[in-house]
Symmetry: C2
Amino acid sequence: MAFPGLEYMITSCVLFLRELPKTSWAKIVKVAKMARKLAQDDPRKVFHSFKVGLAIVLVSIFYNFRPSFYGFGDNTTWAVITVVVVMEFSVGATLGKGLNRMLATLLAGSLGVATHRVATLCGEKGQIVLISLSIFVAAGTVTFMRFFPEMKARYDYGMLIFILTFSLVSVTGYGENELLEEACERLLTIIFGSILAITICICICPVWIGKDLHNLVSSNIEKLAQFFQGFGDDYFDDSKNNTVVVVDKSFLQGYKSVLNSKTTEENMANLARWEPCHGNFKFGHPWKQYLKIGALTRACAYKIEALNVYTNSEQTTPNELRIKIQESCRNVSSECGKALKESSLSVRNMIMSTGPNPHVANAKNAAESLKFILRTNPWEGADLLQITQAAGVASLLIDVVGSIEKICQAIDELASLAKFKKIETTEPTQLLHRGMVQPIPRDDGSDHVITMAE
Amino acid sequence: MAFPGLEYMITSCVLFLRELPKTSWAKIVKVAKMARKLAQDDPRKVFHSFKVGLAIVLVSIFYNFRPSFYGFGDNTTWAVITVVVVMEFSVGATLGKGLNRMLATLLAGSLGVATHRVATLCGEKGQIVLISLSIFVAAGTVTFMRFFPEMKARYDYGMLIFILTFSLVSVTGYGENELLEEACERLLTIIFGSILAITICICICPVWIGKDLHNLVSSNIEKLAQFFQGFGDDYFDDSKNNTVVVVDKSFLQGYKSVLNSKTTEENMANLARWEPCHGNFKFGHPWKQYLKIGALTRACAYKIEALNVYTNSEQTTPNELRIKIQESCRNVSSECGKALKESSLSVRNMIMSTGPNPHVANAKNAAESLKFILRTNPWEGADLLQITQAAGVASLLIDVVGSIEKICQAIDELASLAKFKKIETTEPTQLLHRGMVQPIPRDDGSDHVITMAE
């Protein structure tokens, strides 16, 4: 060959091009799989993408026909900007941003026009100084106000738009009449864009963040319920038969996501307040109560984390010692699970329970029974280090009952505040008293024991 | 009087006006107090407000002199918009937004101009259809991409600006040459605005979010240290002398803020990655390691929450029983506190410790000693229900030592990854062996005890 350099270059290029499809194909497949998973997990995200595309196409068509609309000049671009920026995944967020944008534009626009008018009275140099000063003061003050937690939660976007609009209007070099016209046009296009975004967001497959919060709180309680329903079997069975059986224990780990739910819940509650009534959620729905339930759920999840510390600790209580508290512990745990399950269902279906949760009473009885067993000193003479695990588990289970009761009470409060439907149950849930031992303390401090027949 | 109605109106007005100053004054005072507290807690917020005001005034002055700049037409408004929107509290956030905005504008602008050029070849009707279709596809796809967690963390703002710019450029009705000029002008003003915002943010009292994250992680560890340093006195002393002494125990509650720190830390780490090297933070500082330390700190905080469950439980262990494990428990707790305190100081001052933390070794010894005491069954014959509290506390304290060791190891990793300074200590911290009991298990399972002389 006459050109070995050229040959080398060609070989390299061919090699690179031959490898390129492989590597890029692998990447494309990875991204496609991720996208598919995302779409399968929440198909509303796909609908939202369609909605955003549709909204922008609609506003762009409006833009193309703008000469036939009176009063919208070149400012039609502001309608496009507004639609893109205001359109959010949930109705609450879109409404919050839209209303914030419209109100802030109106306020800042009027103030800006007034400032401009005053400034024109001060001569050319005075005008620049006065306008610069007013922009500095307004932008500085509003920026500082954005740090106020209460303002930030609801009006952060509005305050940003206030600074933006005030600066733009004050700074503009138009004459007075032109300025007023311009400001009005811009306000109208922004109102148009906001209303278009809000309408599409509400009318096509709306995502109500209030409903999401409702479902999140209910599913968090359900995760705790799953833990308690599985905990008894997990703690008392796995060491019994040492055969290695691969069991899916992911339901025991579900509570972990509850530990870090605070920020999400607070954001959702803030956005939910913007939403109008929808479905079973009336105007003035008690969103704050969800935060209260969320906090109690988290407190309970911390206790579960502590239970897990014990079950995973090095010092395990031998099975023959553990078995002595098995029945009461299983009872407490499963009744706590049932109480939470029932409460989570009552939240999910928005049904008010007719009386106090019977499983809470059962759990309390089981806890009393557990306390009684502990008082009889079932592990007399055993190595204290060995029994600390079981004693810790028992003591935490006794303590957990109080948390569960608080959660159930908070849910009852929610039910009455939000006026959940009342449904009469024909079959009352039976109180648990099979083999229960219920101590009734006498005045002298000793215990009088009632043993119920099976 | 001739007009009793008028008299009534006047009286009402006078009353209203007399009350008005009082009520509004009360509100003003409340807001002023809140603002003062906010400013005192973090004066950087006041500086930030000044900076925003200054940046907008500077850009407005630039706007006023725009005729003398070549190439910036009416598009100068985009510089104002950019400054207002890009300027954030921290350097990381401002840089992230500014770079996102510039890159996204460049990309979307080029793509928009190209689309526009292709569309003009398809006739008037074909143009509208093709442009609408491309806007729909681009906006929909990018909106969906915003749901990818990794993309959202770093490029969320950029993707929003991409949709915005692409829609604006494609939709515009300009001729071809005009469009290119317009797009270039807009890009230049946006670059100008971003650079102005970034420059002011970095040059005047910069707020480095990386440093904030560093301090947050270190202060969170310190909060845990304070808890452990105070826990021994709190648990073993308050029932001893029943005199009511009002003691400030807020330091025992400091750990509560650590429980919910996950979201904050993750956001801060995401923003910190945008920051250039500053102070002791070099380029490529291991921000991910802070998240690891944060997760371990939270895991330890959950255990503290469990300890608090015990100390606040109804079933308290009587003092005469509690006293038997007092010394070892106090030792474990205080050594854990010291280990954490030392680690938090090493993070805060960016100093690498020369060897393994001696307090961790002490805490381990104290835990072994506590285990030994538990094995000797100090509460022989006592009511098990009464001793569960103390047993639970002891068992958790033993378990906590492992968490502390993990935290200290993660900090050592950070120190070597981030190349902290090495400082040779002249006085090595003495190992704790005063009155310690160290069991060495023999092969037959029984314990051989070495008692050290005081």
